[in-house]
């Protein structure tokens, strides 16, 4: 098997020797900026901004993708993707946010028929500007028919984006070198937005690792918080959020929350918890891979204001994820934090969007000072 992998490695290095097969990134790079085809007049923020964070599952709704839902499909049809994007756009327009923090947005991927979903959403919603940072970019992924891929994080807003940067996050260290080479390269996306009356307003989004079984998630959350802390030192104002792939801190002690979803998420014929030490665990469904994982988000809650308070975060009304449309949201993975005030009672989890993605959007209104 090792020889086989090496052979493919050499083959593709040779075939694409004049152009990188897999795009790698510097520690900090400029993000890709977008504008809508036609602009919608930016409203006066009137001292408040409505913010939304949403992992849109690359615009395929709940279709049975092989990688995350016991599905058997890799490549969707153009009609399927456009239908799903229409529903996402309708939800965005119904919520009418000023800023959206999006994760899992495709723009040049065979699995979603190469539709640039950043441009498509700009052109089919009231949003005007966007910044994009890729977390997975390759000419081809020679596995499962994935083919060409470009997927990442997006900040989308009605107001002009002055600048944006992609901040590199560490790679997983629990993979062999070949798999790691072709695997996701996650990031923090930080965009400076021209909000009237604000000199240094930033929107920041992140999508932390889902499937790592080592402490990579700790590194991702630590780096995310470090970026936010540095903005505080600089006197900046920010709203930040995303899919942190972490349960609320204290979930392991809360009577109605879990850190272990292996049995719930298992596909037919999967067997977990067979070892005497409780393993093996299903990647992405177990939240105690390292000692501090259940309390990973505590420092963020301790330092910043949030859309959904920690007390409310344990309630079923604020769960944001389930692996199957057949099961209602059963865990909270998506969060919004800010260093300014959140309007009282404005935090909301849009759980009606259960057919639109495997994540529910989370929103709130922040009060500008």
């Amino acid at each position: 098997m090792r020889q086989c992998k090496s052979f493919f490695y050499i083959l593709f290095i040779a075939l694409f020797s004049c152009e990188p097969l897999v795009t790698t990134f510097e520690d900090v790079e400029k993000a890709v900026l977008y504008e809508a085809k036609t602009f919608t007049t930016s409203p006066d923020p009137e001292n408040a901004l409505k913010v939304l964070s949403w992992n849109i599952r690359f615009g395929i709704g709940r279709l049975p993708f092989f990688g995350d839902s016991c599905g058997d499909r890799t490549v969707m049809t153009e009609k399927e993707v456009l239908n799903a994007l229409e529903l996402v756009a309708a939800e965005i327009d119904a919520i009418d946010p000023d800023i959206i923090l999006l994760q899992e947005v495709d723009r040049e991927s065979k699995r979603t028929q190469y539709i640039d979903q950043v441009q498509w959403l700009l052109d089919h919603t009231d949003m005007n500007y966007a910044a994009y940072a890729s977390m997975w970019q390759a000419q081809t992924i020679p596995s499962d028919g994935i083919g060409r891929i470009d997927a990442g994080n997006v900040v989308m807003t009605k107001h002009e984006i002055e600048s944006a940067e992609r901040i590199k996050l560490p790679l997983r260290t629990d993979q062999d070198p070949l798999t790691q080479m072709f695997y996701l390269r996650r990031n923090v996306l930080k965009a400076k937005i021209a909000i009237p009356g604000q000199d240094n307003f930033y929107a920041v989004t992140v999508h932390a690792t889902a499937f790592a079984t080592d402490d990579t998630k700790q590194k991702h959350v630590d780096k995310f918080k470090k970026v936010l802390d540095e903005m505080v030192i600089n006197g900046d104002v920010f709203v930040a959020g995303g899919d942190l792939n972490s349960v609320p801190p204290g979930a392991e002690t809360d009577f109605c929350a879990e850190t272990d979803f292996c049995d719930e998420d298992a596909c037919a014929d999967d067997v977990f918890h067979t070892d005497t030490d409780g393993g093996p665990h299903l990647e992405g469904s177990y939240f105690e891979n390292f000692p501090n994982e259940p309390t990973l988000l505590q420092p963020l809650y301790d330092t910043y204001n949030t859309a959904i308070s920690l007390t409310d975060a344990f309630g079923v009304d604020h769960n944001t994820h389930s692996t199957s449309e057949d099961r209602f949201w059963d865990r909270k993975l998506d969060y919004i934090f800010t260093n300014i005030n959140v309007a009282s009672g404005s935090g909301i989890t849009f759980q009606g969007a259960i057919e639109l993605s495997d994540h529910a959007p989370v929103g709130c209104t922040i009060i500008l000072e």
Binding site: S17, M76, E108, Q113, Y114, T140, D144, G145
Partner: protein, 257 residues
């Protein structure tokens, strides 16, 4: 392991269209001569004006045979036609799989398909030992009607050759210049144009430059480059995207009478 090696040989062999799907000049091999290369097909001079070629390593996965028939000379041009038949179904079924090496998603059915590639070649001897060749042809495919358009392999060299199974037909044009640098060294410069009307990614322009060291009449080493400027499928806001790839070439060839 062996299957993966065969896939690799198939993919690399696409760099050498002179051998597989399009012989370079209108000249046929002398009767009784065999030529074979690491990545090029086995070629056999079946008679003074007929040559037969096939890939031995991939014969089980993508059975195919090419017949080049010479038609003599017209106004100083040597005329020949090539007729190639391919059955790609076993190979495509093998790469439609989960995990590493899966170039096509296993969700897609691969039907039984064949393609027939017909070309007309005309070669003219120029001064200083150069041979100029022009060629034009059409490829037809049968049985690909049930092939999902989403199952394409959108890679240089491969996409435009397999496009015939999705589109039922394509056109191919080309020209070659073969020449000699000195007693031991020869060169080849060629270009090929694939046109697939009605399909996303509807063209590819390929250019190859090679030099060959003729150690003897029985052993050659060739090296050079292949440049592919091609259009590939894209989505909103544009239907197509063009890309340029430059690939290295290396091949070893042997011959026997």
């Amino acid at each position: 392991m062996m299957k993966n090696i065969l896939i690799i040989v198939f993919l690399i062999s696409q760099i050498f269209p002179q051998g597989e799907w399009l012989p370079g000049t209108a000249h046929t091999l002398p009767q009784g001569r065999w030529e074979y290369g690491l990545f090029q097909p086995v070629r056999w001079g079946q008679s003074e004006n007929r040559e037969i070629s096939f890939y031995k390593l991939t014969a089980l996965l993508m059975p195919g045979v090419t017949i080049k028939q010479g038609w003599g000379q017209r106004s100083g041009w040597t005329i020949s036609t090539t007729h190639a038949l391919y059955y790609p179904t076993p190979l495509l079924k093998m790469v439609a799989k989960p995990g590493i090496g899966g170039m096509i998603s296993p969700e897609f059915e691969i039907p039984n398909m064949v393609s027939l590639w017909n070309m007309v070649l005309a070669s003219k001897d120029l001064d200083q030992g150069k041979i100029f060749t022009i060629k034009a042809g059409i490829a037809l495919a049968f049985g690909g009607g049930d092939l999902a358009m989403e199952s394409t392999i959108d890679l240089p060299l491969i996409y435009h050759r397999l496009a015939v199974y999705y589109n039922s037909w394509l056109l191919r044009f080309g020209s070659d210049v073969n020449g000699r640098l000195n007693k031991k060294w020869t060169y080849l410069v060629d270009s090929d144009l694939f046109l697939i009307p009605g399909m996303k990614g509807s063209f590819a322009l390929e250019h190859k430059g090679m030099v060959t060291w003729e150690k003897s009449s029985r052993f050659h080493i060739s090296m050079g480059y292949k440049m592919v400027y091609g259009q590939y499928p894209d989505g909103y806001p544009s239907e197509n995207i063009t890309r340029l790839h430059i690939l290295p070439l290396l091949d070893l060839q042997w011959a026997k009478e």
